[in-house]
């Protein structure tokens, strides 16, 4: 698959996909750069520069502690993207396993698992976060694990409904006649066929993961201050929306770019076999 072929369809450029690539690229470049270089130390405070408005020396202004917003965004974007990706990966893998088994085998186990799913969905996420801190302690790894587990049911639902449709198709019977085991049928034969619905679930999951990360760090789970993450920066900017809106602009745009980019890519990703 060559690049232009991927970006073009019927001779026309796929505008959505190009914008998606550009936005995701931007987010990735910014966060990669943030690993090696930031204009200022993202945590360094300056009491004389509290909430300074954007200027040449501080392109996106400074925050309440006099920290450079741009530097913090560069650093925070990496954390946020990584958390988002990891969460979605765990959710997707777990959801695929659970959805595949329940959807493929069906029966009473499926019914019971879906009931448990309902019940877990009803447990408030604050409570679950506390449970997680209680059992596993706090930290970024735990955050990823907790959110990942929280995200499993939604993926499971998508995968399950896909499997219920696909398992009835003849190619699955054919695979059984060839002697493929259930596991192989589930993950090698069927799974690639629900790619498109899985892709859009991934995009929405990524969106939600980025948003949840901020909420969770307040419950002592996850990225702790003074370390930057986009969601946290956004919520910290909240009291200063009036006086120092730039606190919110840069992280807000960054979240928007990455989420929008991923969303646009997923939008087009599923069309290949149509």
């Amino acid at each position: 698959m060559n690049v232009t072929g991927w970006l073009k369809k019927d001779g026309k450029w796929k505008v959505n996909r190009i914008i998606g690539v550009v936005l995701v690229g931007l987010a990735v470049i910014v966060s990669l750069t943030g690993c090696f270089y930031t204009p200022y130390d993202p945590d360094a405070m300056d009491a004389t520069l509290k909430n300074a408005s954007p200027s040449l020396s501080h392109l996106f202004g400074t925050d309440n502690f006099g920290r450079d917003v741009l530097s913090r965004v560069m650093k925070g974007a990496g954390t946020t993207l990584l958390v988002g990706l990891a969460v979605v990966s765990i959710g997707a893998v777990g959801g695929c396993l659970m959805g595949a088994f329940t959807g493929y085998f069906g029966g009473k186990a499926d019914l019971i698992l879906m009931r448990v799913n309902d019940a877990v969905a009803a447990i408030p996420s604050i409570l679950l976060a506390l449970v997680f801190v209680g059992v596993f302690g706090s930290g970024t790894v735990q955050l990823v694990a907790a959110l990942g587990i929280l995200f499993i049911p939604s993926f499971a639902r998508v995968v399950r409904s896909g499997f219920i449709v696909q398992k009835e198709l003849d190619y699955v019977k054919n695979a059984r006649l060839m002697g493929a085991g259930h596991l192989r049928i589930m993950f090698v034969h069927i799974l690639p066929n629900i790619k498109s619905s899985l892709l859009s679930a991934l995009a929405i999951g990524f969106n939600n993961a980025v948003l949840s990360e901020a909420a969770m760090s307040y419950l002592s789970l996850g990225v702790q201050p003074p370390h930057a993450s986009l969601g946290r920066m956004l919520s910290e900017a909240q009291p200063y929306l009036f006086r120092a809106p730039w606190n919110a602009v840069a992280p807000g745009l960054m979240i928007l770019f990455s989420v929008l980019g991923v969303g646009l890519l997923s939008l087009e990703g599923g069309e290949k076999h149509e």
């Binding site: 019927d10 001779g11 026309k12 198709l169 003849d170 190619y171 019977k173 054919n174 695979a175 059984r176 006649l177 060839m178 002697g179 493929a180 192989r184 034969h189 690639p192 066929n193 790619k195 076999h273």
Partner: protein
């Protein structure tokens, strides 16, 4: 003759089409024409058959008349004239489909007026063509609602009478039913009744019987014929099956690659075809008995089944007593090495279920099934190659999969075997690198056969392997199957509803109805001297 007459009787033409072209955007940005300048005309009350293989542009022609082309299609024509009105174009006014807005709006308006009242259409798949969430009555009423000023009681009466005319029993009871509650044949009758309810001047039928089994097909065709003659409705009947057109049509038109190949009265075309293509097409139509083979059928059994019964239990919950449905009851059979064993019957007779049980795809059955070749297991070729091959994988991968699972061959050896089997099934080697979606129907079925044969099984189960294919392709695939069977001394169990195909290929045949065996015997014996009423009915 038709040309001269057509010209002389211009004023009596109901429909005239001049140089119709339809194109779709292609892969590389260029347009791909599927209809290339087709012209023809139709007189009042005339039945015109259009025949051709898939991709010949016959359906697109019909859709273009009705203005139902897909959104991405572009249409270009010198004119479509219907009953004194211009449906599109006109010589002086040659516009693209997507062109001038006001022109398009005018066309749209004319078409809305005519569609459903003076010209109507029925389609191949009656289940999806009917709106699944509306009652039969609601859908039947719609043309009346749109084109007449009848009161609601009058409409209901009209609906009931249309249904009755379409030979549907108990029309009143049907009114509040939904499409999925009817059988395939009934649905198509409803479609016909709906199309005929406003006594249209023109009825276009796009492969209306392809999805139906033989007995129903004959009934539907004669119904269309009867109604058309009663109401003096002109019919365009599109089919890939020449035998259907033969008894129905006044005139026949053969299409290939978007062009008209031959046109003339039914008698002319069928008895004295002029073009080679038409001749080919007719020869391809499966008919006649199986050619005698030299090699005698051995006496070794490869498969035998004794008193096999399959009961489906439909459980509706944890507390409900499950409903039982006897799909197969006490079927016994025995298949010998090198034989082709046919199973025929209408849809729902249990033949596919039986086949699944024999294949080992069903766990819950009673009786015993014994298979000689248990190492590799039986292989199966399914009816619809669109669903039986994994759409997410490349052909090469699909063909390698059985080898990966059942043999210890290395990657190179496997690829070698794939190349061999592709050659044997007359597929180009590049196919291995393609996805199934990029192949034609015939190619797909070849791939399916290749996948079944790549592990060199002795027994292959074939579930309607040619039903979804064009006539010419059908013939080719049957030939391929026969050749492979001879070369590898294979044993086939061949399930089909198409009697002609069964006669052509099978050594022995078993007739099934409602899960039971009606009759079983040597093919020719059975076809020539059917013992049972039901078999006679099937043979028509």
């Amino acid at each position: 003759m038709s040309n001269e007459n057509g010209h002389a009787k211009e004023e009596k033409n109901l429909l005239r089409i001049e140089r119709l072209c339809v194109a779709f955007p292609g892969k590389d940005g260029k347009k791909k024409e599927v209809v290339k300048g087709v012209s023809f005309s139709l007189r009042e009350g005339e039945i015109l058959g259009i025949a051709g293989e898939s991709g010949s542009g016959k359906s697109m022609t019909a859709l273009a008349i009705m203005g139902l082309l897909p959104e991405n299609a572009t249409r270009d024509c010198e004119g479509i004239f219907f009953d004194g009105q211009t449906l599109c174009g006109g010589k002086e006014n040659n516009k693209k489909f997507r062109g001038n807005r006001t022109e398009k709006q005018r066309e749209e308006k004319v078409r809305q007026e005519l569609s459903g009242s003076k010209m109507t259409m029925i389609f191949q798949e009656p289940l999806t063509s009917l709106n699944p969430v509306l009652t039969i009555k609601k859908q039947m009423e719609e043309p009346l609602l749109l084109h007449t000023k009848l009161s609601s009681e009058e409409r209901e009466r009209a609906v009931v009478s249309a249904l009755t005319k379409a030979e549907l029993k108990n029309a009143k009871r049907l009114l509040n039913q939904y499409p999925h509650q009817l059988s395939g044949g009934m649905r198509q009758r409803v479609m016909i009744a709906m199309a005929m309810i406003n006594k249209p001047r023109l009825l276009i039928c796009d492969e209306p019987t392809t999805a139906l089994d033989a007995v129903t097909e004959r009934e539907i065709v004669s119904l269309i014929h009867k109604l058309a003659k009663e109401q003096n409705t002109a019919v365009i009947f599109i089919s890939h099956d020449l035998s259907v057109l033969r008894n129905l049509c006044d005139r026949v038109m053969i299409m290939k690659d978007g062009k008209t190949v031959e046109e003339g009265t039914a008698e002319q075309v069928f008895e004295r075809p002029e073009q080679d293509y038409t001749k080919n097409l007719m020869q391809a139509t499966v008919k006649g008995a199986k050619e005698a083979t030299e090699q005698p059928v051995s006496e070794t059994e490869v498969l035998s089944a004794t008193k096999v019964s399959v009961v489906f239990r439909r459980s509706n919950g944890w507390f409900r007593v499950p409903e039982l449905k006897q799909a197969v009851s006490e079927v016994s059979l025995s298949v010998k090495q090198g034989e082709i064993f046919g199973i025929v019957g209408e849809s729902g007779c249990g033949k596919s279920t039986l086949l699944k049980a024999l294949a080992g795809l069903l766990v819950h059955y009673e009786g015993t099934i014994w298979k000689k070749d248990s190492k590799i297991g039986v292989q199966m070729v399914f009816q619809d190659p669109y669903t039986s091959l994994n759409p997410a994988k490349k052909v090469g991968w699909i063909l390698e999969e059985p080898l990966r699972l059942n043999t210890g061959l290395s990657k190179e050896e496997r690829e070698q075997r794939v190349r061999e089997i592709l050659k044997e099934t007359e597929l180009p080697e590049e196919v291995a690198e393609r996805h199934v979606s990029e192949l034609s129907g015939g190619q797909r079925q070849r791939v399916a056969i290749a996948a079944a044969l790549i592990t060199k099984p002795e027994l292959v189960l074939l579930d309607e392997p040619v039903s979804a294919l064009d006539v010419t392709v059908q013939a080719q695939i049957l030939e391929l199957l026969l050749r492979l069977q001879r070369e590898h001394n294979l044993t086939y169990i061949f399930v089909s509803h198409d009697m002609a195909v069964v006669r052509k290929i099978c050594d022995r045949v078993m007739v099934m109805k409602d899960g039971r065996v009606v009759e079983c015997g040597e093919t020719e014996d059975l076809f020539v001297k059917p013992q049972e009423e039901y078999t006679k009915k099937l043979l028509g």
